[in-house]
Amino acid sequence: MNVLLSIIVAIAFVLIAPLLGGLFMGCDRVLTARMQSRVGPPILQPFYDVAKLWHKEKAFNNPVETIFTTAYLVLMVLSGVMFTTGGNILLMVFALALAHTFLILAAYAANAPFSHIGAERELISVMITEPVLILIAAGFYMVSGSFQVIDLFIVDGSGIILLPGIFVALCFVILLRLRKSPYDISTSEHAHQELVKGVTTSFSGRNLAKVEIAHWFELVILVSLAILFFTHLLVFSAIMIIVCFTLLLIIDNVFPRVTWKMTMKSIWLITLFLGVLNLVLLGIFGVLL
């Protein structure tokens, strides 16, 4: 891809991704409310929240929070830009991990019990996510012979046919990364619960707004990662996204939060038995295809 096109795509991503992410969050809140026979907030509510937070007084537990949350946002954007410009998927995974490291460090910096527990739990979820993301990169490499996202579009056939196990593992990781029940271990999705929003407890005002926006970006990145499995089946992928979204909402509303141990066990078992097995079979039979 030439440089000019890359820059245009990057700028488009930076502008559109937060809109999509915010709208998704808005839909999520409205639909959740409907499931509980409530009316729910306006669909643009996430944007109102962020705008309000942006204008609050600057306050923090530790001045480094400001720069760490900025780093979280910037690296999340960078990771997304790498992805959408057809760049290297491994590098994107590393940038994503780096971004989360900054969020965790910001939570640590407060040295307060709630945010410390949140930070540890967030760290555990990063740890749980990492193997899946690396296996996705490895799987794509085995399919297309390259880590470049762009090369996946050249391959005949879609990732979903060759990598179904990996795709299922990714779905669970999305559930974890969106901090949805039953895997909302690091933040407690609802603010008044015992973790008091865990990892974000110590952030207020602008810092919290940055974390929120970064979260929208992350959502878009993860969903596009899932779409990548359907490179030649765009209509089908749109249907899949809607189905997955609905499932996610139902799961979120039906299940209570599980412990971090349960989270680790369930997701890693899926990763091992579906993800790794998928790659092993691909390694054995890949030659035949």
Partner: protein, 647 residues
């Protein structure tokens, strides 16, 4: 009459020995400081000179009277075995005694059978791989010796029960440097074996420096495990004598240019692999390295992270072209990869900073072993990158932990909260070291990427990739929680003003700069050093075949680095305006330090500690199963070696 290269080699081998003798004799601190300073400057200068020359063109020189030197070295080997035997007798340690006797007998057998046949045409060979090792030993090694000057002063101020044997300590450190140069410079396997044994002895004596019961036990554990490696090495050499070959197999160049099928070499290769595994403290031999952490920190930094254990993997990487396409290599790689996974998990359960560093060292050595066992050019690239980045970053971390321990009186990570406020310089360097160990865009991550790419094309590649994926997840966990502690706001009053010795400050800062320099210069390292090395050892090697080193990716890594620099600048010079809130403790905190006021008027500090996942990652849980698995793997490796199976 000698060429400048030969003189440089001799300086590297002999100056540390002379310095060791002088240091053993001179008592006053001031003379010791001067001696260490002068010899360090000489060693650094010479190693730079030699490395430069070797970079221009690989050096191979011959020395006259090699037979005399061989005899002298044989006597040294006998003496080492006798010293170990004597000390085992003195402390009534049966296992080391038996193993040392076996080693003694084997050495004599080797000497008798090899008499008159050990003529090696090239005495010293310096290629691009030994160049890397020379720079690591020459620069990092001497810096650690300089650091030890200030450290040992504080050490004896703190550990009043330990007898002051600084002369002995420094003599051993320099003797060790000489032995390390011997391993990487010599071409003759007999000489390498001798230097190998000297490093074992130095490590043994230095671990037991404080003479506490724990130190004595651990030092004997280290010695018996290392003697197993020595025995395997000796057996390999004896076996090599019996292989008919037109080239002299008792030399590195001879082995690498063996004209027959490598299937004929699998037995000595398996034995050498075992020797490398013991020296590199791979499972099931990992306990000697974690036990070695009782030694003073410079010892841990020099012997047990950046150089001696690297000798183990250096030998493996050296013979990597032979390991490629043999099942011995694949099983060796499995042992390494398994060690990486198990010790990364074990590191999570440790709160002692030195223990964490020890486990992480073993883990990284495991990754290098895995790469060496696979032995393809891509894997060797990853292995060499790992050796470089790990040596620099880990040495830095050890030195920081050592200095911090003397300033705050603890090496527990839980006590390091808010270190960035309490000891800004040391903590900054520690942050650089930790980032260098696992975060993008720093070095280790680049090497892990290279390893991943190499694994994908290897036999059983998926297994290696999965192990790497889970292992790196553990790595992220234990490093991040340590990093987090450093950035915490202070809930305690800062410690009183502490000063750092100049001899401690200098190596720490230089190493910190080196970590960053290596990261910036990694494309240069790959194209300037690693590619020429691979070119000479792999006939079908195409430079630039790895995706990692394509321009786009290097540019992206550069961009990431640039963003990090901007963020650091932002942190230093950005606006810090705003209200600082006390930590949220349900409104109960009574002061800004976040203390609770109890119902009886007692102040309680709200303290939370990191997760250690003892239930899953504790030593009690993981060590024994890991031993069983790794011993089975080693037996398989030796069995395959005997069968001589090829892929």
């Amino acid at each position: 009459m000698y060429s400048p290269e030969l003189i440089a080699i001799l300086i590297l081998l002999l100056v540390p020995v002379c310095a060791a003798i002088l240091l053993a004799v001179c008592k006053p601190d001031i003379i010791r400081n001067i001696l260490v300073g002068i010899s360090s400057v000489i060693i650094i200068g010479t190693s730079l000179f030699l490395a430069w020359n070797a970079w221009l063109a690989p050096i191979s020189v011959t020395i006259e009277n090699a037979e005399w030197i061989s005899t002298l070295l044989f006597i040294v080997e006998l003496a080492i075995s006798l010293v170990i035997l004597g000390l085992s007798l003195k402390y009534r340690k049966v296992l080391p005694m038996i193993l040392a006797s076996v080693q003694l007998v084997l050495l004599i057998i080797l000497e008798v059978y090899s008499a008159g046949r050990t003529h090696v045409s090239q005495t010293f060979v310096v290629n691009d791989l030994s160049l890397v090792m020379i720079l690591i030993i020459g620069i990092i090694g001497t810096l650690i010796c300089v650091y030890a000057l200030g450290y040992m002063k504080d050490y004896h101020d703190h550990q009043t029960g330990v007898p002051n044997r600084k002369r002995y300590f420094f003599a051993l450190m320099f003797l060790f440097l000489s032995a390390m140069f011997g391993i990487v410079l010599s071409n003759s396997l007999m000489w390498i074996l001798c230097a190998w044994e000297i490093t074992t002895l130095c490590s043994f004596l230095l671990i037991g420096y404080s003479k506490t019961p724990e130190a004595v036990t651990n030092s004997f554990r280290a010695v018996w495990m290392n003697i197993i490696g020595g025995i395997a090495f000796t057996l390999a050499l004896i076996y090599l004598l019996y292989i008919p070959s037109p080239v002299n197999l008792l030399s590195v160049t001879g082995m690498l240019s063996y004209p027959g099928s490598p299937a004929g070499l699998t037995i000595p290769l398996a034995l050498i692999a075992l020797a490398g595994l013991t020296k590199a403290a791979q499972m099931p031999f990992s306990t000697w390295l974690t036990g070695a952490m009782v030694a003073p920190t410079p010892v841990s930094a020099l012997l047990h992270s950046s150089t001696m254990v690297k000798a183990g993997v250096y030998i493996l990487v050296l013979f990597a072209p032979l390991f490629a396409h043999t099942w011995v290599g694949v099983v060796l790689a499995l042992i390494g990869a398994f060690t990486f996974l198990a010790t990364s998990a074990l590191a999570i359960s440790q709160s002692n900073a030195k223990k964490v560093l020890a486990y992480s060292t073993i883990a990284n050595l495991g990754l290098i072993t895995a790469c060496a066992g696979i032995g393809t050019p891509e894997a060797v690239t990853a292995a060499i990158l790992l050796i470089i980045f790990h040596a620099v970053a880990k040495a830095l971390l050890f030195l920081c932990v050592g200095a911090v321990e003397h300033k705050i009186g603890s090496k527990d990570i839980e006590d390091m909260d808010g270190l960035l406020v309490r000891l800004p310089l040391l903590a900054t360097m520690m942050v650089i070291g930790i980032c260098g160990m696992y975060l993008a865009p720093f070095g280790m991550l680049i090497s892990k990427w290279a390893a991943l790419e190499a694994f994908l094309t290897a036999p059983l590649g998926v297994v290696f990739v999965s192990i790497l994926a889970f292992g790196s997840a553990f790595t992220i966990f234990f490093w991040t929680k340590w990093l987090g502690k450093l950035f915490m706001r202070m809930n305690k009053p800062p410690a009183e003003k502490v000063t750092l010795h100049f001899s401690e400050k200098l190596p720490v800062v230089v190493l910190g700069v080196l970590v960053i320099a290596c990261c910036i210069g990694f494309p240069a390292i790959v194209s300037g050093v690693i590619n020429p090395y691979l070119d000479t050892h792999y006939p079908f090697f195409i430079p630039g075949g790895m995706e990692l080193f394509s321009f786009d990716n290097v540019a992206m890594i550069g961009l990431m680095g640039f963003i990090i620099v901007l963020l650091v600048l932002g942190a230093l010079f950005g606006s810090k305006a705003g209200k600082t809130l006390p930590p949220y403790l349900s409104g109960c905190a009574v002061d800004r330090e976040g203390r609770f006021l109890g119902s009886l008027g007692v102040y309680k500090e709200a303290k939370t500690s990191n997760y250690y996942l003892e239930e899953y990652c504790g030593e009690a849980k993981l060590l024994k199963p890991s031993w069983v698995i790794s011993i089975i793997l080693i037996i398989i490796m030796l069995g395959i070696g005997i069968l001589g199976v090829m892929i």
